[in-house]
């Protein structure tokens, strides 16, 4: 997993609430058996018109937001299906951070397991941030994971992250490494657990 320490970049606004994982990556694109290429189809049915043309009204497609590595989205982001393909699609497109006022549980975990940082901020801060980047596409956001701070021209905001996950992100570790290091404890537990065979 790619390490995450700090990031300074612009952001794309997506002021829609309850963005579900079917919007992030529709089911018809889940047939691959590797993790590659999902970025091409991120928000597929919003980014393209019915005729298959790029919809230039959709923020991600607008040239002024090109190269932005942060997605700023409405409340309850990532609800719905557990498909990790949603996190692969967002990361695959080039985003490294998603900022929202609320994340669905499974998406949040999936993002963290792929080095994609979900940052939860207050609804008020989110609204200011959204306006900031809508008015000025050059609006720059700095993320400092070590100190858990977002810094913009609006001022600084602190954010929470699970301390264990923070260590994983900063060092590029994943849970498999950790769980394998606990193999003896797991086997000991297993031999004493309640079963009825």
């Amino acid at each position: 997993m790619e390490k995450f320490k700090t990031l300074k970049t612009t952001a794309v606004p997506l002021p829609i609430e309850n963005i579900d994982t079917d919007q992030i990556i529709p089911a018809r694109f889940l047939k691959a058996t590797d993790k590659k290429g999902f970025g091409d189809n991120v928000f597929r049915d919003w980014r393209y018109t019915k005729e298959g043309k790029l919809d230039t009204d959709f923020p991600i497609n607008q040239p002024q937001y090109k190269g932005a590595q942060i997605l700023v989205a409405g409340d309850n982001f990532g609800c719905g299906s557990s498909r990790e393909h949603a996190a692969w699609a967002i990361a695959g497109y080039g985003f490294r951070v998603v900022i929202s006022s609320f994340f669905a549980d499974i998406f949040k975990g999936n993002a963290l397991n792929n080095g994609l940082l979900p940052i939860q901020v207050t609804p008020e801060y989110l609204a200011q941030l959204m306006t900031g980047i809508q008015e000025n596409p050059e609006f720059t956001i700095t993320i400092d994971l070590e100190n858990q701070v977002i810094d913009t021209s609006l001022g600084q905001a602190a954010f929470d992250i699970d301390p264990y996950k923070k260590v994983c992100l900063i060092n590029g570790y994943d849970d498999i490494d950790f769980l394998l290091s606990k193999k003896a404890e797991i086997e000991k537990f297993e031999n004493n657990r309640v079963t009825f065979a």
Binding site: N18, P26, L30, T33, C79, Y164, I176, F196
Partner: protein, 462 residues
């Protein structure tokens, strides 16, 4: 000391270790896998040279990306065929039991596992599918996981998790006629919203759930994720024990008696405290419909679409081509889907058949019935329900997830409404541009017969 909840008891019995200032290691009893969310996890382990810790605690099925016609023939779509054969290869290589396409136990993972007695009270179960919450109907901690976590369970039979908070939804009183478990859960979600449960594990309590069949309880727990809860549970009782007893993987004889003794200790203690509670009166629940693009946007069948008017709400109504203040009754409907891990069990088809018997579907309607498993398909045949539906002009397909997520060819055309017994009415869920109206199997059956949405509240079923 205050008492423990059902969730506490099962969770605490599975904690291997707690990390200071961090998550806990939770032991997983059963791991269900399917073709769509497992291949990358198998690849990951292979690349890292890690073996699968407990293949005998994994059960595999093919369901999401499978055709529902001609299952005996090679799958036409190349990518789908490849995904399915990869599952077969992975299971063979790692000695995992697979009930693949065409097998007599094949079916939607959340239908076939309970049928086989894989699902038992007091267990921890996971699957790379958010509707794993279904198995909570047995008093099981069951929840959906991402593919990285599928890999973690492969590697260690455990997961790193922070213990969720506890939530209880109580519904007491008497349900009106023709109000089904699907209506109960759609009603709850319409009241508390799609993120009220995020960060929580839910317990459903009250006489309404106590009186439900296991099929009904599964329908309710299935949709826990639609209010954001990772899982939903119902205390195991005699109904649960009777359902589990005698099934293929259920404990037998003395072992079963011992298991029941243990399962009886699991219900929430009287003095247990929940982090959040909701109470509802059963009498207020009616047959439900959704009008928007998330499962929380629900109204009573004869109700009116509310006025709200924020950007997300307006976008949803525009997508659905509905107006605030309007009713859904009499809306012409061309597609009806009875299926999915929410409502594709025998009981769902029995109630639909009660309405359909002796009638014929409206000429404009394409009515698809997709049983949840081969065993349900067999029951349909044995109980004579297949005939009832076929005489009524319904198309009975082969088991699978089908038009719930439209990964295969079972797609609703753009712009069309579909009254569906599935669990998600998201934009494009049932096909690009498709407009989903979630409802119970009874409402779906009535819609197919009438060709439009009709009020079933006064309907007397034979």
């Amino acid at each position: 000391m205050t008492g423990k909840t059902l969730f506490d008891k099962v969770w605490d019995a599975h904690v291997v270790d707690s990390i200071d200032n961090g998550p806990q290691i939770l032991y997983i009893d059963k791991h269900l896998i399917h073709e769509v969310t497992s291949p990358q996890a198998f690849n990951e382990l292979e690349e890292r040279g890690i073996t699968i810790a407990r293949p005998d605690q994994i059960v595999a099925t093919a369901d999401h990306n499978t055709p529902t016609v001609d299952q005996h023939l090679p799958v036409k779509d190349e990518m789908s065929r490849n995904q399915l054969s990869q599952l077969t290869r992975n299971c063979e290589k790692h000695n995992i039991t697979l009930y693949g396409l065409g097998h007599k136990y094949n079916g939607i993972v959340h239908v076939m596992a309970p049928e086989l007695g894989v699902t038992q009270p007091g267990m921890t179960m996971v699957c790379g599918d958010s509707h794993t919450s279904t198995h909570g109907a047995f008093g099981t901690i069951a929840f959906g996981i991402g593919t990285s976590q599928v890999g973690q369970v492969f590697a260690s039979q455990s997961l790193l998790l922070n213990k969720p908070k506890s939530l209880r939804v109580s519904v007491n009183g008497k349900l009106a006629p023709n109000v089904l478990p699907k209506d109960v859960i759609l009603y709850i979600i319409s009241k508390i919203g799609t993120n009220a449960g995020t960060g929580y594990f839910c317990e459903y309590a009250g006489n309404v759930f106590e009186e439900m069949s296991m099929e009904g309880r599964m329908t309710v727990c299935n949709m826990s994720i639609e209010m954001g809860a990772r899982g939903g549970m119902i205390a195991p009782d005699q109904t649960t024990f009777d359902y589990v007893e005698g099934r293929k993987f259920a404990p037998k004889g003395d072992a079963f008696a011992k298991a029941v003794k243990y399962w009886k200790t699991l219900p929430t203690d009287n003095d247990a405290v929940f982090d959040k509670e909701y109470h509802f009166d059963a009498a207020d629940i009616a047959p439900m419909l959704t009008y928007g693009t998330n499962p929380g946007m629900g109204i009573k069948i004869n109700g009116n679409i509310p006025e709200k008017g924020d950007m997300t709400f307006d976008k949803a109504l525009e997508y659905m081509n509905f107006k605030s203040g309007a009713q859904l009754l009499d809306t012409p409907i061309n597609y009806v889907f009875i299926g999915s891990c929410t409502n594709s069990r025998i009981e769902d088809f029995r109630i639909a058949a009660q309405y359909v018997r002796g009638k014929h579907k409206a000429a404009n309607v394409n009515a698809w019935l997709v049983p949840g498993s081969q065993q349900v398909a067999k029951q349909l045949q044995e109980e004579g329900l297949k005939e009832v539906f076929e005489e009524a002009g319904f198309v009975l397909r082969q088991p699978g997830c089908s038009a719930c997520l439209a990964m295969n060819d079972d797609k609703i055309p753009s712009g069309e409404y579909c009254v569906s017994t599935s669990n998600r009415n998201f934009e494009g869920r049932q096909g690009q541009g498709a407009r989903t109206i979630l409802a119970s199997p009874l409402v779906a059956a009535a819609t197919a017969i009438e060709g439009k949405i009709v009020d079933v509240t006064q309907e007397v079923l034979a």
